[in-house]
């Protein structure tokens, strides 16, 4: 009860304070800007309602980009992790590069990808997929590497084939790590997709919409769009957490 009550009360208090400060113009004075540039929670809420069909339409575009990019990264990341797990040579060669590649700010190359591949959905999927690929691959590989060596020996003396050992011991061991990686990936995917749409989009999306609103100084709408993006990230994370609880029943 208190677990829910206290944070809810705190949130309500903060929103109330924000509302009062924005209405009185105190917040605008603090920032030294015109008061119409500082939206109050009620203005954001009404903007959310007034623009609901536009937001929904663009949310669908963005959601599709996230899901497709994330899906590609999931398949490729898990596949690559399995290959690296099976081959020590490849693992030794690739692992440092894989970790090192994270120092590259991939989002900086988003405009380049747009130039190379055009303004369609393709380059946006690519950016999301590249960003999601790393946490998925590294976590899946770490999960596979954490398999108990004695359990593998035991499986060998129980006449398990390589595939049976993978299926019955290694894959279930790695599963919680795979979910951890996927949850991290889906959270960063929402940030990545906004950058991808900023880099070049004629096909809409919430990131593109934020840019339009911002250029027109429609700050309430910017906040409303950001709220939708945040809810999308929380929703996707929650779905993965739910799937994990349904699949990983032994924890």
């Amino acid at each position: 009860m208190k677990r829910w009550l206290y944070p809810t009360l705190l949130l309500a208090a903060l929103l109330g304070l924000w509302q009062i400060l924005a209405d009185s113009g105190a917040l605008a004075d603090v920032f030294g800007v015109e008061s119409f540039l500082v939206p109050s929670p009620s203005e954001i809420a009404s903007s959310l309602w007034d623009n609901r069909s536009l937001l929904a339409e663009n949310a669908w575009v963005t959601l599709r980009e996230i899901l497709l990019g994330f899906g590609c990264a999931l398949v490729a990341g898990i596949g690559f992790a399995i290959v690296l797990h099976l081959s020590e040579t490849l693992r030794t060669a690739f692992y440092p590069l894989l970790v090192g590649s994270q120092a590259i700010p991939i989002l900086v190359f988003a405009p380049v990808l747009i130039v190379l591949f055009g303004y369609g959905i393709g380059p946006k999927l690519m950016i999301v997929a590249i960003i999601c690929f790393f946490p998925i691959t590294v976590n899946a590989l770490d999960g596979l590497r954490s398999v108990d060596a004695d359990a593998v020996k035991m499986m060998r003396t129980l006449d398990a084939s390589r595939w049976q050992t993978f299926q019955r011991v290694e894959a279930p061991t790695a599963l919680p790590s795979v979910f951890s990686g996927a949850k991290v990936a889906v959270a960063v995917a929402v940030i990545a997709v906004v950058f991808a749409e900023w880099a070049g989009s004629s096909s809409g999306g919430l990131g593109w919409l934020v840019l339009q609103y911002n250029n027109n100084l429609r700050t309430a709408e910017v906040f409303a769009t950001a709220l939708v993006l945040a809810l999308m990230a929380i929703g996707l994370f929650g779905l993965l957490a739910l799937a994990e609880r349904l699949v990983v029943t032994w924890r």
Binding site: K153, D159, R168, W250
Partner: protein, 279 residues
């Protein structure tokens, strides 16, 4: 009561290194024969001149100071490793694949897979052999009652007591249908009372379903009670410093057996050898 546990090895056991791998004949009984076995991990020498003979359905205890290489020896027997020198043959098969086909390994920790029920854990080898889920479960369930596990078929491993987990782990090893069971300190994680109960239980289980057993233990009493013979290993690099005949292997009444003067005398002898070997 066993009169002589030192029986001749299987035919051609020592010269079987080149023998092609063959399909194992389930629990028909396979002896173990090791001669001049040496092993090292790089610079670290673990085993030195190990000679062991064990007749089919015999039980050999391996006791030694911790870290002396007992578990390594067990892995060599099971064909999970190859020795640097010397030969090891199980049921006449001297190559690693042949030994692997004849040995089932029960690791120190029970290593029950948490994503399977107790029944599915026990049936693991049957599934590996290609049996369908239902058939494997049926076969394993038939043994649950005999092993005092009836009613716990569907339980998750973490719902079982330590003793029950070990029984499931042993059942899993048994159901692999291998002639030789390699048990690596199977009861080390249990409290003293449960351990004594489990030793008595294992003695009974082996009476009903005899197998060749190599039992690694750090507990002299456990090894002497369960085995026909106990080999005492020295500190690393491990050599066999003494080999003792157990006075009353797997007697029905454990408490009476371990307090018997003959048992106590052999235990003293074993402890002495163990102390000398650890220096």
């Amino acid at each position: 009561m066993r009169q002589d546990t030192k029986m001749p090895p299987d035919s051609g056991a020592n010269s079987a290194v080149e023998a092609p791998p063959e399909t194992p004949s389930p629990p028909a009984g396979a002896g173990l024969s090791a001669a001049g076995v040496e092993h090292s991990f790089g610079e670290l020498r673990t085993l030195e001149q190990i000679d062991v003979e064990l007749a089919p359905h015999g039980v050999l205890g391996l006791v030694g100071p911790s870290g002396c290489g007992k578990s390594t020896l067990l892995e060599l027997v099971c064909g999970l490793r190859e020795p640097d020198a010397g030969t090891i043959a199980v049921g006449g098969a001297g190559d690693a694949a042949g030994r692997l086909a004849r040995c089932a390994f029960m690791p120190q920790r029970d290593l029950l897979l948490p994503w399977y029920s107790a029944l599915d854990n026990a049936a693991l080898a049957l599934r590996n052999h290609g049996a369908g889920k239902a058939a494997a479960r049926r076969q394993a369930a038939a043994l649950f009652e005999r092993f005092g596990l009836a009613g716990f078929e569907g339980s998750a491993p973490n719902e079982l007591s330590g003793g029950m987990r070990q029984r499931v782990a042993f059942l899993r090893t048994l159901l692999a249908g291998k002639p030789l069971l390699a048990l690596d300190e199977p009861f080390a994680a249990l409290d003293a009372i449960t351990r004594a109960e489990m030793q008595e239980w294992l003695a009974g289980a082996l009476g009903e379903d005899p197998r060749t057993v190599v039992l690694v233990s750090h507990d002299v009493e456990e090894a002497l009670y369960l085995s026909d013979r106990v080999a005492i290993l020295s500190a690393r690099p491990a050599r066999i410093v003494a080999e003792l005949r157990a006075p009353g292997p797997r007697a029905a009444d454990r408490d009476a057996a371990v307090t018997d003067p003959a048992f106590v005398a052999v235990r003293e002898e074993a402890m002495k050898a163990l102390h000398e070997g650890s220096r």
